[in-house]
Symmetry: C2
Subunit: 459 residues, 2 copies
Amino acid sequence: MYNISSSSKTPLHIQLFKQLKQDIEQNFKAGDKLNSIRKVASLYNLSKNTVESAYSQLVAEGYIESYPKSGYLVTDTYYKDSQTTISSVIIQENEKENYLYDFIPARLEKGSFPLKLWKRIFTKVIDESLDFGTYSSGQGEFALREQIAKYIIQSRGVKCQTNQVIVCGGLADSLSILARILHKTHNTLAIENPGYYVAKNVFESFGYNINKIPLDENGISIEALNLTNAKLVYTTPSHQYPTGVAIPISNRLKLLHWAKDKDALIIEDDYDSELSYDNRPIPSLQGLDKNDKVVYIGTFSKSLCATLRISYMVLPQHLMKEYNKLYDAYFSSVPLMMQKTMEHFMSEGHWDRHLRKIRTLNRKKHNLMRSLLKDTLCNTIKIESSGAGLAILINPTVDFDWDKLKKITKEKKMKLYFAKDKSGGDWEAIRMGFGGFTEKELPLAMKVFFKIWEQCIVK
Amino acid sequence: MYNISSSSKTPLHIQLFKQLKQDIEQNFKAGDKLNSIRKVASLYNLSKNTVESAYSQLVAEGYIESYPKSGYLVTDTYYKDSQTTISSVIIQENEKENYLYDFIPARLEKGSFPLKLWKRIFTKVIDESLDFGTYSSGQGEFALREQIAKYIIQSRGVKCQTNQVIVCGGLADSLSILARILHKTHNTLAIENPGYYVAKNVFESFGYNINKIPLDENGISIEALNLTNAKLVYTTPSHQYPTGVAIPISNRLKLLHWAKDKDALIIEDDYDSELSYDNRPIPSLQGLDKNDKVVYIGTFSKSLCATLRISYMVLPQHLMKEYNKLYDAYFSSVPLMMQKTMEHFMSEGHWDRHLRKIRTLNRKKHNLMRSLLKDTLCNTIKIESSGAGLAILINPTVDFDWDKLKKITKEKKMKLYFAKDKSGGDWEAIRMGFGGFTEKELPLAMKVFFKIWEQCIVK
């Protein structure tokens, strides 16, 4: 006997469906016949429609079938072993470890994102004229691509037209697109060693072989590259990751000649070149190229906000055909709202102003960290790289107890970052990020670091 | 002679740098010596610092080098052939074709997105407490995952804990993650034929072999699946793409048994099951599984907004280890701001309310289209699939001139969608999307369609 109550919040046909289902699971076997709709309606004083709805749902879920002349029969009882209880237990995940002093090399101050401005633009430009009813262009909104093109042409010397710009959701997204469109023609990626692990990982996941090319004092060794058969190379020419080397003009041209001679392609990752403190940023490699051999990749993550997930890529014209073929049915990974807000943020001049502000702010902290390092640690350290980005790279010049360093920093809740941990290879340096500290916090954190450093020098 | 003007907006050292650079490019050869800093300062009445800055930039870009005792010498002249003019020409792309009547099967009405509400939540919850200074968890924010878990447990019968939920940027993103973490153990994907082309494309791009499995009246043929060696299958059990078949309970259990027997994995794409009009949505396959053999994938694209780019995936616990290993250093592809707004949209009950509203709205249009089709085209059509999603699938039951259909619709600026075009295989149907029309527009568009249909019947 079912319990169907008209005072319940659950609709009648659902109450009936649930109880019928339970009844079938517990008491019926395959081929058993259900009461007719008319009979059930009369038994429980329900409308015929209500019972029909319940039966229809049982049919849809495959519990019963309707046979002409026979009525509704239970399907095979295979489902009997499937009775499960749904666990709604939600467990809390472990909290991330909390550090007192975190020298993370890829972060900006918490308050540096222009939140109020962003919100103002967002509420102003996100309106009914935008189509939220369907997917938007995989390549990104034209107006945003236009802004990006203008910016990289002016500030980075990139040569491009708006139709070559692709809006991406971060470096890994850009590289995945590339790995897909190049796979017909390439199966090996040459990469700087040490180099950026994300590039290696992405191309490996698409089945590429990885060819590690050593660095010399001018960045990637073109001699070593020439000895391989690679026709595709990933490089960070303006600020090598992690060593910080910039490829000088003569080697840039050699690299472009290599690409021309071998009919090869260069992926230029220009990830943080806008953060240059000692000199003006070096113009892009792509801008020097006359043979359409460079893919240019940039991002807003380093100077504006990493969690916006907006980056961009410029493809040579000859790759656009394959791109359009493969990505015809794809959708941009960047939400329309974010694209629209970013577009106006740029077109109204806020991006340029923000860049100047963020560069000045980080230059101050960079200079402060560099002079503190030099003045306090004197000749016990070597500065491997400085002048750009969000970290200064150092190594000890004296006998040094690395294990002790790791032990004490852990005790003191200090987080340090080491080049080797992520880039592979033998090249080591401590990557001292300054971007996340305020100007006030930085000297305090450095003071604690200096004390630890002292203790790790082997005397 | 350089032209350095203190009344220019360009800083002095940049004016000097640019003119030096041009001079070197045009008039110097490798090894040529530049004037000393002191001399240039005196010649142009500049401070020594200004000249040093300009020289330092030339060194950084590799034009000159500093040699002890010799001063600044021009590096090799390799770069001479690189002089290029930066093209700032920005060309307009071709506009998308504009249709008068677009029966697109995957869209909602333009005004159906709750824009005002979204903006209100956005401005309320996006505040300084959020950390925009660095990358956020690759798996997605815990609080959003918690909301998603609650929703799919309650509405879809999914069994999961919050730590199994991954926030993704759309189906292709979910599938790419899966293709990566399964690649060590799987190299073949079985997929419904006809089936969803995006799934096929993504796995192919990661080097998987594709094994096409035919459908029978109960969805994917488990007999055919059993004849293969595949240990991984992609399926849309609640609303097969494109045929609309739902797998009944008995076959769901057979599919789960297959996975258990073969130690295989099922990818359940539950893309639009919340849009069910004739019956309540069928509970998920994942919820029936007792052996951790199902990956569950869902999205907000079909009922809320496709350009939000938010979807989700539930991994079996045994895959979390590989996921955490591979995605340890990755960042969520969904912007923190969107995650936070979505979280509050759900936790404040708006998502449930919106779902009810959107389901009612589309049920009306679905029923209207279905009765118009039946009443007007009578026995010249067969409805292949209806009752769910955003389209009704039809085929002619009479001799029909398909070429004429394509010709006339083009003339009348009407866009129709055909199953074969994207899914491959022999299965054909016209996918009549109703989601994009308003209730007023729909009968008008149908009227035009009916006229065209009449003309294409071969008499």
